[in-house]
């Protein structure tokens, strides 16, 4: 079957998760007070970022490591590193 939503898409993937996040929201207050759009929750292709009312939840386990959040955050509020060697997403095909 062809996928219909992001959950089904993410389910196709293999991840070798680290126990530590390679993505860090530096200051949750910036998201709360300065960023009404919370645009990372929109453009992130893996729905890694979810706003929980007072803080940004970061589901780094499903990250594609594309870098969009680092470049796209209007407040440079995301610290972006590569996951530890051999960890993170493992593409098997394309």
């Amino acid at each position: 079957m062809s996928t219909k939503n992001i959950e089904e898409k993410q389910y196709l993937l293999r991840f070798k998760c680290d126990t530590k996040s390679h993505l860090t929201v530096l200051d949750h207050d910036v998201c709360m007070t300065q960023c009404p759009d919370k645009i990372c929750t929109v453009f992130c292709p893996a729905e890694v970022y979810k706003w929980e009312g007072t803080r940004m939840q970061v589901g780094y386990e499903g990250c594609h490591e594309c870098g969009s959040c680092r470049i796209g955050c209007p407040y440079q509020n995301i610290k972006w590193e590569y996951p530890k060697g051999g960890h993170g997403i493992v593409f098997r095909l394309a």
């Binding site: 062809s2 929109v42 796209g72 060697g85 593409f91 095909l93």
Partner: protein
């Protein structure tokens, strides 16, 4: 005593592997460092690999490399909501050796390619992240990795760490890229039986077709969609500049699903089974976004140097060629025992003298123009569709009258002067 190599290459994608392979063939001592479980595990592309630059690295590679299909037809679609204006080229000269380009699945191809570098003598280390370049007296002398005691030294460090080149940024070779300098692209691999692909795309077993789709595929935003045929699967994807996605508040995967459900696309992928979903950034800043590419003891190649021609969807070929040019410079530098910036700058000269920078220079204003003036995707694609529909619908109106009506509707919507301005501006951006 820490280990020292002639060359350390960071990243085993097309650029890094091409560089490592060429260096190893010249008997240099090469370390190729890859952060993924295997080369290709982190690498994504729509799927077109050009023959010419690859052939210079591995002659007649098509006889052994894991390729999907030689592309014999390239279609271009200007798509509206319920219609499409098409043009393209199909030629059987592309169906035989030496071919023009191929569809590939990168996780397989990159592993095969990296093995070529290993066979030539390069040492490949997977599952290792380079965290920083070791700089001594203003010169890059090695890299620090995330392995215990993970410092390695070399005469030259080659950064082939892709679009997210944290290392070249750390060295101050460029600032963080802006959202309009990168395109966020998402794609799916959709399995479909070979016979269905052959029938739907009008090709035979070892023939492939590519479709680039403009207009409603991105809901009028600056970007394109693509649909490529593999042996027994399709790659379907869509991307826009990150800035457009932010501005239009688009969820990329929803845009992909919109594309998959578009009435012009849906029948081609019907019954297919999704096998993988991938997201990646493409460096599309072009000529003006290319950073400093050589320094003391360091060279930057491939996506890390923004070497992508977005208009012609060329990237991996430029990556490979830049890797080869870098390797040739390093071999010369080795003979001089001089790895200073002025010595390694012969890479810069070679790069700027090659088709890579010439093509990027040709299109240096294209992305900027189309981003600033969204009417090309927003207005003109639907207009073209309406014009074609009107012209080819037989309703008793004489053809000359139809032509008049079409011209009138175009100028009425925009004004003659604006249409001429738009045409001139577009021509200037790509001439």
């Amino acid at each position: 005593m820490p280990e020292k190599f002639d060359v350390i290459v960071v990243g085993a994608g097309p650029a890094g592997t091409a560089c490592a392979l060429t260096c190893a063939k010249s008997d240099l001592n090469v370390l190729l460092i890859e952060r993924g479980e295997y080369p290709g595990a982190k690498n994504v592309m729509g799927g077109v690999l050009y023959r010419k630059q690859m052939e210079e690295l591995v002659p007649e590679f098509w006889k052994e490399a894991p390729l999907e299909r030689p592309v014999i037809e390239q279609r271009f679609w200007m798509m509206d909501k319920e219609s499409v204006v098409q043009f393209g080229y199909k030629g059987l000269e592309w169906a035989t050796e030496p071919y023009n380009n191929f569809t590939v699945l990168r996780a397989q191809f990159d592993q095969w390619f990296a093995k070529k570098a290993v066979d030539a003598g390069a040492l490949l280390i997977n599952e290792t992240v380079v965290t920083e370049c070791i700089v001594e007296n203003g010169k890059v002398v090695g890299v620090r990795t995330d392995r215990p005691d993970g410092e390695v030294y070399a005469d030259v460090v080659v950064l082939a760490d892709g679009v997210n080149s944290l290392l070249s940024k750390q060295l101050g070779f460029h600032k963080e890229f802006r959202p309009d300098e990168v395109a966020l692209t998402v794609m799916e691999v959709i399995n479909l039986p070979k016979e269905k692909i052959n029938d739907r795309f009008n090709v035979e077993d070892n023939q492939g077709c590519t479709i680039e789709i403009f207009g409603d595929s991105t809901k009028g935003n600056l970007g394109t969609a693509f649909l490529y045929t593999n042996k027994e699967s399709l790659n379907i994807g869509v991307g826009t500049t990150l800035s457009s996605m932010i501005k239009a508040k688009i969820k990329p995967y929803e845009l992909l699903d919109y594309l998959k459900n578009h009435p012009m696309v849906k029948p081609l992928i019907a019954g297919g089974e999704s096998a993988e979903y991938l997201a990646h950034l493409i460096p599309e800043g072009g000529y003006r976004s290319v950073p400093k590419v050589a320094g003391n003891g360091v060279i930057i190649i491939g996506d890390a140097a923004q070497l992508v021609n977005a208009i012609h969807r060329e990237g991996s070929n430029m990556a490979m060629y830049s890797g080869k040019l870098a390797a040739e410079t390093i071999v010369q530098a080795k003979s001089r025992e001089d790895y200073s910036e002025s010595s390694l700058n012969s890479y810069r000269e070679a790069l700027y003298g090659s088709f890579i920078m010439k093509d990027l220079e040709k299109y240096k204003d294209a992305a900027h123009t189309f981003e600033k003036y969204p009417q090309y995707f927003n207005d003109y694609v639907p207009m073209m569709n309406k014009a074609m529909s009107k012209f080819f619908t037989v309703d008793g109106t004489p053809k000359r009258e139809k032509q008049k009506q079409i011209m009138k509707s175009v100028t009425a919507e925009k004004g003659t002067l604006r249409v001429l301005q738009d045409l001139y501006r577009a021509w200037k951006a790509v001439k």
